[in-house]
Amino acid sequence: MKKSTRLKVCLNHQYLQGSWNFECMQNGGWCYGLLPALKELYPNKEDYDLAVERHLKFYNTHPYVSAPIVGIVLAMEEEKAKGADISNTSIQDVKIGLMGSLAGVGDPVFWFTMRPILAAVGASLALSQNILGPIFFFVAWNVLRFGFLWITQELGYKKGTKLITDLSDTFLKNVTLAASMLGMFVVGILVQRFVQINVVNIQSDLDMVLPGVLSLCLFFGCTKILKKGFSPVLLIVILFILCIILEMAGILVI
């Protein structure tokens, strides 16, 4: 398969969630991503239609860690087009087998570690009215994201199904653990730096004991309440109302 085709697949794959639906989830986007490859491999209309059908099966994973799966499936499809005996179910089995375990890594790494870090750096710049904040966030995110998509897709394509055994459980667990530790480190920083509570008269005394002690208490309170299944949006509304009441009572000041 031509490198340019693989690049086209990688670019198309960015629209994976475009037709996200409650029935087969990302199936349409997955098929759309593979189209350039299917067109090259199956010039015959009949084979092409069969291939499209084959790739409109249920699929749902984290949109970025989907890239290595795309790579592996590209390698399988190439073999199949050459005449190797690869059944439709074995392709679907590879997708189903990988999507769950990889999504378990993608969510904490990208949504709960990388995005909070980059977004917090950007937001702190933006709050001091510096235009570099949004620019930093946007550029850094997309460079890292597309780099990851392309590199892991190529890795999947070159290693093929061998990659599945390489991605051992311990490796994936270690990646998740490392990301989670860094993520929690950042959450600690955020609670200290960005939660602003200012109690009239006694705030300077509190800060001498432990800066951010009230933020810390509030944070632990929120984690407990949210763990019980309380709606985060409702919790935010309640906090806003509490702030209005406490401001009127003269306890909290700006």
Binding site: N21, D107, P116, A120, P134, L182, L190, Q196, P232, I236
Partner: protein
């Protein structure tokens, strides 16, 4: 011209809200852009930065759909632009827009659920006609229109109506909202902590919380410290594991004594 640019931002942000790739829909980008095209860059940055901190932990996981940040950031920035023409102080208008973004995110959530149900028909059409690209792009545009329609409605309301409503609200409420906008981001942090938290990760939370008191350290330099600590932990952890399976009985004994 300004209106066209605002609509364009709304449309692209709506698309990104479902794709979750370029992160164009994140408040820090979307609010800033709407501020930029309407000549309110400074206020857009402030709104975007504050909303971004609140929305830090909102993510679509599996089939679950999170509150929708893209509708929230687009609509609340447009309301802010309207409100800035009133007699109310800019920081109060921003605080009000932040508070309003929260219920708006639920509106966006229900709209995206409607779109995700409609998309079922689209993929069925893909299967029947094999015109995958065509229906894929209809699906993508549908998500853009989801944010575009509320934006158009809001733009049709004259600023004076919104300003007179804003001017009726007493100042003490605004003060409370301003305080609240500095407090509610704690909920987003708690969401992240509930996903990542375990007995292995909370020690790092403590280190981060303690170190962040040093205001001379920038956020990125703190991340370097954190990254170094995590790396060190992983190295030591791997070393300990390899020791346990070693053929060195004396080494094992020594390790036990430590």
């Amino acid at each position: 011209m300004q209106t066209i640019l605002v609509l364009l931002v709304a449309f692209v942000a709506g698309i990104e809200g479902i794709l979750d790739e370029f992160e164009f829909h994140q408040p820090i980008v979307a609010c800033t852009l709407i501020g930029l095209v309407t000549n309110h860059l400074a206020e857009g940055l402030l709104l975007g930065g504050s909303l971004q901190l609140i929305a830090l932990g909102w993510a679509n996981i599996g089939a679950a759909v999170a509150p929708d940040v893209c509708l929230a950031s687009v609509i609340s920035s447009i309301l802010m632009i309207h409100g800035l023409e009133s007699a109310i102080e800019a920081r109060y208008v921003i605080a009000f827009s932040i508070a309003l973004a929260i219920p708006l995110s639920l509106v966006g959530l229900s709209l995206t659920k409607v779109c995700r149900n409609l998309a079922i028909q689209l993929v069925h059409k893909m299967d029947e006609t094999k015109k995958v690209s065509y229906y894929q792009w209809i699906g993508i545009c549908m998500q853009g229109i989801r944010v575009l329609i509320p934006t158009v409605v809001l733009l049709l309301i004259p600023s004076s109506v919104i300003c007179s409503i804003l001017e009726m609200i007493p100042v003490s409420i605004y003060k409370g909202l301003l305080i609240g906008s500095g407090v509610v981001c704690v909920v987003g942090f708690a969401i992240v902590a509930n996903v990542l938290g375990s007995k292995f990760t909370y020690p790092f939370f403590m280190i981060g919380f303690g170190l962040a008191c040093m205001t001379s350290l920038s956020l990125l330099s703190l991340c370097f410290i954190g990254g170094g600590l995590v790396w060190l932990y992983m190295l030591l952890n791997a070393k300990e594991k390899s020791n346990k399976t070693s053929d060195d009985p004396l080494g094992d004994i020594l390790n036990d004594y430590e």
